[in-house]
């Protein structure tokens, strides 16, 4: 059987391993940066249930289906579910984390432009999973007086 030279295969495997190490290192670094939640992030409680999203701001304001935030501020979402698994997703801001009943998951972001973005559910939750949507509205910050 194979009395041929083996070195091409070893070089090839070496390159593949090197590539994987690079992927792992880059991903680890990016995740480290992304997961670092700023200390001054304002908490927004996000509740998913079949089949809509509701929000509660730090000052007690509640919203259903729509979320208003201010440009340039950091927000920390504390995500919960009332019934089955859902997944809170603002695709334009690459915010995604599951809403699991019985636990609170945390993810943060800081919107930099004014605009409107879609909120969707990214975990199958039954009949109206496909339409469990909402709107994120990023508004101008009030001028500080």
């Amino acid at each position: 059987m194979g009395h041929h030279s083996n070195w091409p295969e070893w070089v090839y495997v070496g390159i593949v391993i090197a590539l994987m190490v690079w992927v792992g290192a880059e991903a680890w670094n990016a995740e480290r940066l992304v997961e670092h939640i700023p200390a001054d992030a304002e908490v927004i409680k996000v509740t998913g249930q079949q089949w809509f999203w509701s929000f509660e701001h730090e000052d007690g304001t509640k919203e259903i289906g729509e979320l208003h935030v201010k440009v340039g501020k950091a927000y920390k979402f504390e995500i919960m579910s009332k019934d089955v698994n859902h997944s809170f997703n603002i695709h334009d801001y690459v915010v995604l984390l599951d809403a699991i009943p019985g636990r609170v998951n945390t993810v943060w972001f800081a919107p930099m432009e004014v605009g409107e973005h879609d909120i969707q559910c990214r975990e199958y939750c039954g009949l109206i999973h496909y339409n469990m949507r909402g709107k994120l509205i990023v508004e101008e910050a009030e001028p500080s007086s």
Binding site: A27, E31, V84, N89, H129, N131, R133
Partner: protein, 508 residues
């Protein structure tokens, strides 16, 4: 070993037989029937998603049931039984034994498949093929859910029985003069995938039982209202099903190890590398399960560990690709239908793996989790690699089993259409996922880019559908009326169509 289609036997003789070729044939016919059933569901799903709004499916619950049964059918009732078909037919021949180690148990393992299939199809559950709680406990209506659970329980037992049979046959019943290193790579693929099954399946069997008792209300393993944790199910499920996807792919790669050297008119570049890569892959498959759970709220450290476990599997898979390329090098390749499927399968295997590496990078999961990227990614594996390898191997053994040749031109058209269709559907779905479209959705907002990509994907699916109709016609016509094949060398390669092995004491 020519099938009796030339001299038909009574059907009940085949049905009650325990001989490995008959059991293999039963698995083959059953798996192909479910291929067409599951594939039809896929066509319906793609037709519905052609445009926003309701097309041919009236309501979202029906749609949800269809994709659940589509996935469950093609994984458990096509891919696994097809692999069992090939294994049953050929493993005893490859190790020079008269039958499988436990012929009656073998037949029993097969006969569990039709009732399980009936349970799944008559139930038509809607909770996706993961059956994740709490939805599957509190929100999924019975009896569909319970029938699915029982169906999968039965299939799990059938898998384990089959695995035991393969392991004992290969390790204990092989010819005394055959060393384990001389066993053909296709048999090695069955050995390693069966070992994975033995370790991985019991975990899911436990999870299914716990899910059932939770549904009955007598336990609270996964139900938060009773103090349970849904994430526990996710761990149990993925601990089984990540290795399980390797159980799906390893036999298909084994089948490519049969086709590629034969049609290149050379032996495999490195038999020992192939064995090493199979063994390594099956071990490393256990180290990556929670990459499916990156979005559940795991800690940074947990995610890092599983990312490393995922990336560790890539070199083993890459070794197979190298082996195939090095085998074809300096060969004299005949691109008959089986070879086209095998080579197309390797190309798609590579793309699937490349997309998977991207997914494994933790922060990129925030973009792609539960979106159409994932759908495109895994379909490149199950369709692009596994179905391509399986279908190619089916063409390869067709003359062996039936004694007749299929129509070569139709076989090539089948391949070309399927390849184009597969690329159209699943490459497009990667981009669709990047644009944010979630998976498992009956309808979507009329975003222009989403509509265009869904339409491209649906057209691709129809192209695959057409190719499968050509396949069906070719199969049925050729098995009865095809040209008689030269069973020593049906593909006119110049070599022999068998497993070369010189026994020192040929008492067979």
């Amino acid at each position: 070993m020519v099938l009796e289609l030339q001299k038909p036997r009574p059907i009940w003789q085949i049905m009650f037989s325990t001989h490995h070729t008959d059991v293999g044939l039963l698995y083959l016919i059953t798996s192909l029937a479910f291929l067409f059933l599951g594939g039809t569901l896929a066509l319906a799903i793609r037709a519905e998603l052609f445009l926003p709004g309701s097309q041919i499916i009236a309501d979202s619950m029906t749609f949800n049931r269809m994709f659940t049964v589509h996935g469950t059918t093609l994984i458990f009732l096509f891919i696994l039984p097809f692999a069992s078909a090939v294994g049953n037919y050929l493993v005893p021949i490859m190790v020079r034994y008269k039958d499988m180690a436990y012929p009656k148990l073998n037949a029993i393992a097969f006969w569990m498949i039709p009732p399980a299939g009936a349970l799944i199809w008559l139930g038509f559950a809607d909770f996706t093929w993961y059956a994740t709680p709490p939805y599957s406990i509190i929100s999924a209506p019975g009896p569909a859910a319970d029938m699915w659970i029982f169906g999968l329980k039965i299939l799990g037992i059938s898998s384990v029985l089959g695995a035991i049979n393969f392991i004992v046959t290969i390790l204990k019943c092989k010819h005394p003069d055959m060393s384990i290193g001389q066993v053909p790579l296709l048999a090695w693929s069955f050995l390693t995938s069966s070992l994975i099954v033995l370790v991985a399946i019991p975990t899911f069997a436990a999870a299914l039982l716990m899910l059932l008792t939770d549904r009955l209300g007598v336990s609270g393993f996964f139900n938060p209202a009773m103090g349970g944790d849904p994430i526990a199910y996710a761990h149990l499920f993925w601990f089984t099903f990540h290795p399980e996807v390797y159980v799906l792919v390893i036999p298909a790669i084994g089948m490519m190890y049969e086709i590629i050297p034969r049609f290149s008119r050379k032996p495999i570049f490195s038999h020992s590398s192939g064995i090493f890569a199979f063994v390594l892959l099956s071990m490393v498959s256990f180290s990556s399960w929670a990459h499916h759970m990156y979005a559940t709220g795991m800690s940074f450290t947990e995610k890092t560990v599983f990312m490393i476990g995922t990336l560790a599997a890539v070199p083993a898979s890459a070794m197979h690709v190298f082996n195939f390329i090095a085998t074809m090098w300096n060969g004299r390749i005949k691109f008959a239908t089986p070879m086209m499927w095998a080579v197309g399968g390797i190309a798609l295997f590579f793309s699937a793996g490349a997309g998977g590496v991207v997914n494994a990078a933790m922060p990129l999961d925030f973009q792609t989790h539960d979106s159409y990227w994932v759908v495109g990614h895994f379909h490149l594996f199950v369709m692009g690699t596994i179905a391509f390898g399986s279908i190619g191997f089916f063409y390869y053994i067709f003359p062996y089993v039936t004694g007749r040749m299929y129509n070569e031109r139709m076989g090539q058209i089948h391949f070309i259409l399927s390849f184009i269709g597969t690329v159209l559907v699943f490459f497009t779905q990667h981009v669709l996922g990047l644009y944010g479209m979630p998976r498992r959705v009956y309808d979507y907002p009329p975003i222009p880019e989403w509509i265009t990509m869904n339409q491209i994907a649906s057209v691709g699916a129809m192209v695959i559908g057409v190719s499968m109709v050509i396949f069906l016609i070719n199969m049925i016509y050729s098995s009865g009326k095809g040209k008689l094949a030269d069973t020593d060398d049906p593909f006119n390669l110049g070599g022999k169509y068998y497993y070369p092995f010189e026994a020192k004491n040929p008492h067979h």
